[in-house]
Symmetry: C2
Amino acid sequence: MSMSGAPGARERLVVIGGDAAGMSAASQARRLKGPDELEVVAFERGHFASYSACGIPYWVGGEVDDRDRLIARTPEEHRARGIDLRMRTEVTEIDVAGRRVRARDLGSGAESWTPYDKLVIATGARPVRPELAGADAAGVHGVQTLDDGQALLDTLARTRGRRAVVIGAGYIGVEMAEALIGRGYEVTVVNRGKEPMSTLDPDMGCLVREAMAGLGITMVNDAEVTEVRTDDAGRVRAVVTEDAEYPADVVVLGIGVRPETSLARAAGLPVGEHGGLLTDRAMRVRGHEDIWAGGDCVEVLDLVSGQSRHVALGTHANKHGQVIGTNAGGGYATFPGVVGTAVSKVCDLEIARTGLREKDARRVGLKFVTATIESTSRAGYYPDASPMTVKMLAERRTGRLLGVQIVGREGAGKRVDIAAVALTAGMTADQMTALDLGYAPPFSPVWDPVLVAARKAAREVREAD
Amino acid sequence: MSMSGAPGARERLVVIGGDAAGMSAASQARRLKGPDELEVVAFERGHFASYSACGIPYWVGGEVDDRDRLIARTPEEHRARGIDLRMRTEVTEIDVAGRRVRARDLGSGAESWTPYDKLVIATGARPVRPELAGADAAGVHGVQTLDDGQALLDTLARTRGRRAVVIGAGYIGVEMAEALIGRGYEVTVVNRGKEPMSTLDPDMGCLVREAMAGLGITMVNDAEVTEVRTDDAGRVRAVVTEDAEYPADVVVLGIGVRPETSLARAAGLPVGEHGGLLTDRAMRVRGHEDIWAGGDCVEVLDLVSGQSRHVALGTHANKHGQVIGTNAGGGYATFPGVVGTAVSKVCDLEIARTGLREKDARRVGLKFVTATIESTSRAGYYPDASPMTVKMLAERRTGRLLGVQIVGREGAGKRVDIAAVALTAGMTADQMTALDLGYAPPFSPVWDPVLVAARKAAREVREAD
């Protein structure tokens, strides 16, 4: 093993975590510095690297027939590009003072230390597992990694019963419900909130509930899971709430994820109130010149609220990796933050949000008006024009856009990008009413639904003060 | 006829032109001021008011089966809302000094003067008719008004031959080519430019040419029409260019429109270099406190080039009308300008553009880099992911976004809105790379195609200086 820091010797960049953020960082650093200058070593504890975790529900659902299609780049491809990617190797300790990491080969069990000059932490997230009896039973699955997805598919193949319970009704829960319906399961979604999709305000979430009911999904809201009941063999048998019991042959955990920062915490690195690593704009771990962190294990700045939050999304992880790799490779790049955009779908229902919900705005002391409108995806007279509901929040007095939520059919989801850019630019609802958006009858009514919402929100702002 | 200007008397708002801009203005003014304060009189020379001219190609093509579906509000509905809408009545003179307009009832031929306190000019546009022998022959049709569309459909119903020639390959030409293919015609498009869709750079227009060829449309580029040949009965027989003759049973003019400002010019109102009325931000005709103009008859500020241009689009006309009606009704509103966004489609090919083309940027003295990328509409592994080409122009040194062009299938067109908002906000390509756009596999690759283009453009900017 080469020693680091010797004069004239090449530097070593060590990456912990071989998925989106880690391998983007490794690849970008590799692009900027050749092997004579920089050695790149990446550790991944799982069987897969550089895959689309976001694609797992579609793989489970059968839309994507082959697991390998979710893999953007194989370990061999990474190695051919000069990255020393060590699969099935888990980093067990970061020695910040000694600038080295300890890693265990999960095959042989052998452990060894690897020194680094620069370190990237991209340890991702882990699904929240309720602190319940039975939560670790056979047949209870998270869907965070390809390994998780494979384990779930193995269970589905083995299981004769067709009753599935999804715990949680956020993006993952809703997507998994669709996937399991697609596989012919009877699906019950047990949800703690008043409505599914708590990333939306309840008045928009109710539109999702109605659509899910239409798909034959049993939606149980306002329900706290108290126990996962198992049979004598330790296999899941039912999900129990305070009020009822839901028989289950398989259970999927869709209650969100937490930053996986146990390694970083143990090493004394700074972690924020949402459990994620804290970084500066260049994605450097605060107070550590040569350590970067990105992807699902960090907190990011919410540009609308001005506060820190945790958002686990592959698109951010890729951006972080790109920024980290540029900086670690001697360039300069920053990640300014997020506005909180997310899109999803349940069959043909598209669900999108960006910015703040009502409760987010209240939490940070913002007063706001809301405007909810119904419009259509295309000119009303054009074939297949479908209804779309848009809700907009704008700050009182200033009129500044605070958030947008959209529920509709084809063409609804990506319309949220209009608001995402407007939020980034700090536009007011009134300024948005003049936006020169693409118009032709097959694409939009003459007033795009987002503009209709902006007009109403701007009027509410004027009338509120 | 009531006299205007008497103390305490209600004011009269006169509107010339009963389509999008005119009737939006009339309706908005009516909303803000009751009939006791404001009389609203609108003149429309055609048979229809408040209709979607943009929908005519789809009506001709059969996607929209009923003409009346293009009509947003009938004359009776306007009258029920307190607007004195006079159909088939053509304003023949504006007497600015005398604050009155002369109008002719096209049925009876009677003429009379109507005084106004406030005037709205919304006279629209007229299709460019080539100065050629035969350009006015029977069987040669513009498609600017519902009356035009009806006349074309009447011709199609009467004509046994199935050969159609479309002159011009801009939005209207391309949409009409699709419409006529849909009706079973053999369609030839004769185009002056090197490629169809001259609103795109030629390297993007060529993608449209290929798609049109795939639809069985004969595309003749680089061709100047010299004559429309007629038979003894004065009916169109062929379109003749310098090099060839194209037999035609029907000819559609798709060579664009010019502002219809003959009335305004005769009245001495200011007209710009593109032939449109010149207004201020409140859509007031320059130098005239009580005259507004909007819709296809005005020039607008291009926020990217800083220069004036003419853009005939229903979405702008509606915004203008809203602004005019608000101001004429005693409120305050402005129209800041356009960035030049347009979307269209030929069958399943979506075509979009915003901002400046290469030649526009050159014309205003801007140096720029270009970046063209190919990506997909959804994650590559997701079903029905379709290819998409995005071209981006960014200013050298500053990196400011100058324009975006997109050609692709489903999901390509409205993606241009991302760039439209970014242009409005004056973002740089580099800033755009961090945009928090909606991502999920059914909606986008992990890097949205617009972001991929922005990354490449930002790199080109860095490397150019």
